[in-house]
């Protein structure tokens, strides 16, 4: 490989212990790479494990969850083998996260500039007067006017709060930014503004971004590559062009067809009947089998292996052809 990835996730599995004592397999065998300065879209329906993947990488899973197998390699270092203390040094300085729901993720009783200054001081990066300058820089970067920096979150609109969340995530100059549904609750125009902002920041700072979303349209606008998740597994991954133009997995295919397209405004949308499986009650074979319109006999009993259908394009489906993926 020409360039070694900034982050590579291999065979990551996470189990949850449910309240009733059952075990839920939230993630199974999740693998992907992110290159420096690139954007990866992590796509799937609610409950497919997108957020769990981020939390596992950041080691922020709740106490009821356990990482059972896998490696998370960041710049040559295995994050899963670090102690909690060492991990704390990684968070925010190397990788940080823009949490879902900007409405609730900010502290309502703290001024925005104070909230952004907090992690800078906590990580002992600068003195308090230097930090004030840094906050000013960040505000400018995300387009929050100076005079509004010392306001409280409730004085901000949804779009402004999302900008503040992004400034907060960038406070300690990370190289990798996770953005968990950053535009989901926003209007299309504000969504476009926030995506434009993320792209601009990426160009300026050379960040790698993992964009978690259920919206394939958003992914098409800003990402370089995509991993489509279903039922805690990666169903398909590859470059944006190959996924959108030659989808291999029936789930990806259907997801793309269920998207309203302004250029063909007639007829019914394709939909995917049924609901995603529960983590405590996963189908024995392919996770998508009960909802798949192309299913064959083997799908019900055997989980399909991950195949490399073309260089860099991987799909886990019995109908696909290609060598078994190296990961």
């Amino acid at each position: 490989m020409a360039e070694s990835p900034l982050l590579s996730v291999r065979h990551l599995s996470v189990d949850f212990l449910m309240q009733d004592g059952q075990k839920g397999h939230a993630l199974e065998d999740v693998s992907f790479d992110i290159l420096q300065g690139h954007t990866l879209g992590l796509v799937g329906e609610s409950g497919c494990g997108k957020t769990t993947t981020l939390m596992a990488i950041m080691r922020l899973l709740p106490a009821s969850a356990r990482i059972t197998t896998g490696q998370v390699n960041y710049n040559g270092q295995d994050l899963l083998s670090l102690s909690e203390r060492q991990m704390r040094d990684f968070r925010w300085k190397e990788m940080s996260i823009v949490f879902q729901g900007a409405m609730n993720a900010l502290n309502p009783v703290m001024r925005i500039d104070e909230q952004i200054r907090e992690p800078i001081l906590l990580h002992h990066l600068m003195t308090s007067s230097q930090a004030a300058g840094r906050v000013g820089e960040l505000m400018e970067l995300v387009g929050i006017p100076k005079e509004r920096a010392s306001q409280y979150p409730h004085e901000y609109s949804g779009g402004m709060r999302q900008r503040a969340m992004i400034a907060l995530a960038l406070a300690c100059s990370p190289s990798l930014l996770f953005a968990d549904e950053p535009t989901t609750a926003l209007d299309v125009m504000i969504q476009a503004q926030v995506l434009e902002l993320l792209k601009g920041i990426q160009e300026k700072l050379g960040l790698a971004i993992v964009l978690v979303t259920h919206d394939l349209g958003v992914v098409a606008e800003v990402c370089d590559s995509v991993a489509v998740m279903y039922g805690g597994k990666v169903a398909e991954s590859g470059s944006i062009d190959s996924i959108y133009n030659t989808p291999q997995h029936p789930y990806t295919e259907r997801l793309l067809q269920s998207f309203p397209d302004l250029n063909r405004p007639a007829g019914d949308l394709a939909s995917i009947p049924g609901t995603p499986p529960r983590v405590t009650d996963l189908p024995p074979g392919c996770r998508f089998e009960p909802r798949c319109y192309k299913r064959i006999e083997i799908c019900a009993t055997t989980a399909p292996p991950m195949l490399e259908t073309s260089p860099g394009h991987r799909a886990a489906c019995h109908l696909c052809r290609g060598p078994v993926s190296s990961y």
Binding site: E45, S46, S157, G158, G159, M160, D187, V188, M189, I190, Q191, A192, Q193, E196, H214, D215, L216, G217, V218, V219, A220, E221, I240, D241, Y244, N245, R254, L255, L256, S258, F259, P260, D261, L262, N263, P265, A266, G267, D268, L269, A270, S271, I272, P273, T275
Partner: protein, 368 residues
Amino acid sequence: MLTPESVPVLEVSHLVKSFAVRQSILAALQRKPTTEIRAVDDVSFKLERGEVLALVGESGCGKTTIAKTLIGLEEPTSGEIRFSGEIVSASARRTRAGLLVLDSGRVGTREHMTLPHMSLKRLRQHAQMIFQDPYESLNPRSTVFDIVAEPLEVHGLARKREERLDRVRSALDDAGLRPAESFFERFPHELSGGQRQRVVIAGAMVLKPELLLADEPVSMLDVSIRAEILNLLSDLRRERGVSILFITHDLGTVAHFADRIAVMYLGRLVEFGPTREVLQQPQHPYTKALLSVVPVPNPRLRRERVILQGETPNAANIPPGCRFHPRCPVVMGRCEDEDPPYTLVGERHEAACWLLEQSGSERAAAAA
């Protein structure tokens, strides 16, 4: 209610809804003028029988206020709403004593006076609302059966047990929850987001309404579920002949089933016309910008996007002239002083922009 086919289900003319901003005691004592938020400012439209009209605009443009006013959750400040030809609201003003005075000079209680021709209750039997968030609009302690049967009870319909069972069963069935019986005893927390929204739709359809007001019914749902709900609404229109006012901020979701689109900005309609025309030949700069930012699921079609800066201004502070001019990418001198009138740009397709007026008069001059 027997209605001739030609009478529109809904006719809104010059609807205005303004809210008074609460003052501090000090400001009130100093007799400072109260500020007013004009959420809806002179909006007129018709909705024909079996038609789907999409009302599109950003947060704060007044689209939800319109829906609430239509269903009687808010009183209109002025203007007229006709439902199947009957007036459901007349302009009323409040006296100092808190009584309402109608144009006719009669004084009475709120409900009585604002709805002189059709009671709220009767209106709501024929017009039902579908709210945005199915996680919050269902009573968590009621079963699906009770939720769907409640409107029947409220309106005193289907009093016999058998009859009620039938109505609920067929409403659930229509909403795609099959077999209906298996959902009767379930609670909302046992259902997925898509199923919950179907229960909401069943609760609305159980009254066999003529009009559905759907306020962002899919924006909280995953994309794959969105398609199912949109298809369901489309089926209900086709099979039950129900008219739908579909409120959304996303032009992408309406392309597939709206007959007409009305684009709203800061309390006013800026463009309306048949779906295909508005999408393929948008005339107002705001519509063009909104269309350009709809994400398209094809990386090869990444287009030039017109991203408007800032956000919709506060309705307490509507800019003079064309209200869109501070954010308009093609603003001219005239826009700052004068509000543009509606210009007819195609069959039943109108937009309010000075640029259209200009090209219209040029066309006229050329023809002369």
